[in-house]
């Protein structure tokens, strides 16, 4: 509890300090951020929509890291999820439009999950560290994105590097035509609840946490750490992929070169700031979503704009790592 309170206070100070350093009146700046993030229904919707991919990817990162698998490939997995969704849309929509949403979501989960599971398998069986392999896979997927949107998945006029736009009827339900809020937000929240239950209440989640804390101990107690870690990577990647198709179905409806805004990378600090706890990640994703949404409000009045938001993120994460996670290094044995 104390840690949560300190984190909140620390984040607030980080925001204020950054505003001061940038020469923005902190009271005015904070006001603009809060207004942009939560001042009206547009602001709230912006916050929720920005937070959605962060939440799903952050949960993915959490599952991987809790199992001792440092998945840095959320970005690539997010993009792969989106591209898979677009490919499946192209195949399935003409045949069975009723199955489109579910098959898009499921296929994005499976494809990104398989990619991450490959990285997990390589680490467990061949000693290739996930930290390296998943980063490299990011580049692979981004190249694949660039190729598909100019090749097999390009829109029918072959003019722009992007896929065909999904018909509105297949997109996630929007509650208000004027705002971006879509039902994918609730998908993300439901997934958060599921991940929390799986990690905290089930045998599977318990074993996963044991493996992440001490792999050798898990091995000696015959908990099968290899399989656990490959599965953890599969789910980790799967959730990042799901984030991609949720944004595809909820927000953009078509995939282009700039499909990802770095959500997969930003999800890592989101997960860390959330204490690698699913409920913490909900709060942390909401905070970063609000910061992004509020930063857009700020940038309309101040030239520092969005840059300022990234600086605040950096300060917050560094501060968090220094003050909160620092103690863990001493607790944990080198092994």
């Amino acid at each position: 509890m104390i840690r949560v309170a300190l984190t909140v206070v620390g984040l607030f100070l980080a925001v204020v300090l950054t505003l001061i350093v940038f020469g923005v009146d902190p009271v005015k700046g904070l006001g603009l951020i809060v207004e942009g993030a939560a001042g009206d229904k547009y602001g709230l919707a912006r916050t929720a929509v920005r937070a959605t991919p962060l939440l799903l990817c952050g949960l993915g990162v959490t599952i991987g890291w809790r199992a001792g698998m440092y998945n840095i490939g959320g970005e690539g997995q997010y993009v792969l999820g989106g591209v898979t969704g677009a490919a499946v849309a192209r195949l399935v929509v003409p045949l069975a439009p009723g199955l489109a949403s579910i098959s898009i979501l499921a296929s994005s989960f499976v494809s990104a999950g398989l990619l991450a599971a490959l990285a997990g398998w390589l680490q467990v069986k061949r000693g290739v560290q996930c930290v390296i392999s998943t980063i490299l896979m990011n580049f692979l997927v981004l190249q694949m994105l660039a190729w598909t949107v100019r090749g097999p998945l390009q829109e029918s006029k072959h003019e722009l590097p992007q896929t065909e736009r999904l018909p509105n009827s297949l997109m996630f339900k929007r509650f208000d035509a004027q705002v971006d809020l879509h039902s994918g937000v609730f998908v993300a929240l439901a997934v958060a609840a599921l991940v929390w239950a799986a990690l905290s209440l089930t045998r599977w989640g318990f074993v996963l946490r044991v493996v992440g804390q001490n792999r050798r101990f898990a091995f000696v107690n015959k908990l099968g750490p290899d399989a656990v870690q490959v599965w953890a990577m599969a789910l980790s990647g799967g959730l990042c992929g799901l984030a991609g198709s949720v944004d595809y179905l909820g927000l953009v409806g078509q995939i282009g070169d700039g499909f990802s805004q770095g959500w997969g990378f930003l999800a890592i600090p989101v997960a860390l700031l959330g204490g690698l706890h699913p409920l913490g990640v909900v709060a942390s994703a909401a905070f970063f979503g609000a910061l992004l949404a509020g930063g857009e409000g700020l940038s309309r009045f101040n030239t520092t704009g969005a840059t300022l938001v990234y600086v605040i993120q950096a300060v917050a994460v560094l501060g968090y790592l220094y003050f909160v996670r620092r103690g863990r290094v001493k607790e944990a044995p080198a092994a």
Partner: protein, 474 residues
């Protein structure tokens, strides 16, 4: 007189590692220091080389008292050490390793040629061919040891300490190593050989000192003593022949024949071992550390595969409780709570499960009752296991191993590092488990522990069973 150790004592916590030890090491003499694990050899070495500051006593080199606990000045004064685990940077060339050893400060400049000039001329004198540009990690173990020795003897070397120098060498390399030790002795250097076993130093040592429980228990010129006398010193007056335990044990639980197990580097550490274990029996396996005990225990606990031989369980598949040697890595998840650590053995217990869900209430209550029953000192069962003292951590490991009522229990040094009370607690737990019908394989380097618990004892020496500890130390 070269090096004189005068009344040195050192305690770690309430363990007295050295107790008023006095020894004289003469120039031009090879002096073996023998003793079992925990006899105080490593601590004495540490004191001589300056790594350990003793509580009392002095070390005098040629009439000059050494600054104790200062490895650099000790080294400068001419007391040099060759470690058993080589202190070499594997990715550096031989010359770079030599330069690293002679570098005084970060800023003293680097001249590889000058740094390796002395050592290579010594190597030439000893008839060694050593390429200063070779990558150290690519050399054979014997050659790496030569680099260590060149490193140690570069500069003033009045006293050369070698820790288990032959343990890592092949027989050919051993005889070569002995040749150059004699060569170094000729120069008037005092040589100290640390060893577990008499056989490692016969044929080379001029004089032998035996340590037991931190005291010097015997010393003699090699010419004036024999193996029987030295073994007697090492083992003391303790019973060392295998006693015949009570015969009325139950059915055979475990039958092992011709078991061969590989170590981490692929060497065979357990060689064709056979044993049987009965219900209610405590089988003690003794011997000096590193003779295959851990690998044998891991194979029996199902944690390490065996390459040949059979392990059969006549009473059907057992539930094996395992108390591993290293509680910090194998025995506990230190960052997780005591309750979680205890829960690990109960994950498949029907009473603790409801489908995929764990009954956290059941697990917490059983953790609470174990903490209470074993008198584990912890604020509560939610405290991280790593926050407990070593003895209480060990009790958590023992509690987990025993709480599942295993039919077979494999325990490796279950009381290492524990105080008297905690040791008695753990011993009682083991006795109770045996009385309840479990068969226990107790691997311990502590003879007293085997005396106190085991119905039957065997000793491992180089991966094979021998009948008595005398066989294991000579």
């Amino acid at each position: 007189m070269a090096l004189s150790v005068q009344g040195v004592s050192k305690s770690f916590g309430n363990v007295r590692a050295l107790d008023s030890v006095s020894v004289e090491f003469e120039p031009g003499e090879i002096h073996a220091v023998l003793g079992e694990n925990g006899a105080g050899k490593s601590t004495l070495m540490g004191v001589l080389a300056g790594f350990v500051r003793p509580d009392r006593g002095a070390v005098v080199l040629d009439g000059q008292a050494l600054r104790l606990g200062d490895p650099l000045s000790t080294r400068e004064a001419g007391v040099r050490m060759v470690h058993q685990h080589f202190m070499l940077v594997p990715n550096f060339s031989v010359a770079e390793n030599l330069a690293l050893a002679s570098a005084q400060t970060l800023w003293s400049g680097l001249n590889l040629e000058r740094a390796s000039r002395g050592p290579t001329s010594l190597a030439a004198r000893l008839g060694w061919s050593i390429d200063p540009r070779a990558r150290t990690g690519g050399l054979s173990v014997g050659a790496q040891q030569r680099v260590e020795i060149l490193k140690a003897t570069d500069g003033p070397c009045r006293v050369l300490i070698l820790d288990e120098p032959t343990a890592v060498l092949t027989p050919d390399e051993v005889s070569e190593a002995f040749d150059y030790l004699r060569e170094i002795r000729r120069a008037g250097t005092a040589i100290i050989l640390i060893a577990h076993k008499l056989s490692e130093v016969t044929g080379i040592a001029d004089r032998v000192t035996v340590l037991r429980q931190g005291r010097v228990v015997g010393q003699a010129a090699m010419a004036e003593t024999d193996a029987g006398q030295i073994a007697e010193w090492m083992v003391g007056g303790r019973v060392t022949s295998a006693p015949t335990g009570p015969a009325e044990h139950g059915a055979v639980l475990l039958d092992v024949t011709g078991l061969t197990v590989l170590g981490d580097r692929g060497e065979s550490t357990v060689r064709s071992v056979s044993l049987t274990l009965h219900q209610g029996e405590i089988l003690g396996i003794g011997g000096v550390d590193g003779n295959g005990q851990v690998e044998l225990a891991e194979a029996l606990a199902g944690v390490r595969p065996h390459v040949s031989g059979t392990v059969s369980w006549p009473q059907g598949a057992p539930s094996v409780g395992y108390i591993p040697q290293d509680r910090q890595t194998d025995g506990l998840a230190l960052t997780m709570s005591v309750a979680d650590n205890l829960a690990v053995s109960r994950l498949d217990d029907p009473s603790a499960r409801k489908g995929p869900l764990l009954r956290s209430q059941v697990l917490r209550e059983s953790a609470q009752s174990l903490v209470k029953a074993l008198n584990i000192k912890t604020p509560d069962e939610q405290a991280p296991a790593g926050s407990l003292s070593g003895g209480n951590q060990q009790e958590v490991v023992v509690a987990r191993a025993i709480s599942g009522k295993p039919s077979v229990l494999v325990a490796v040094n279950p009381t290492r590092g524990l105080d008297i009370q905690a040791t008695a607690d753990v011993h009682n737990q083991l006795r109770r488990a045996a009385a309840d019908g479990a068969g226990i394989v107790l691997v311990s380097t502590d003879l007293d522990e085997l005396d106190a618990l085991a119905d039957r004892r065997v000793f491992l020496s180089r991966g094979e069973f021998v009948e008595s500890l005398l066989g294991a130390v000579t």
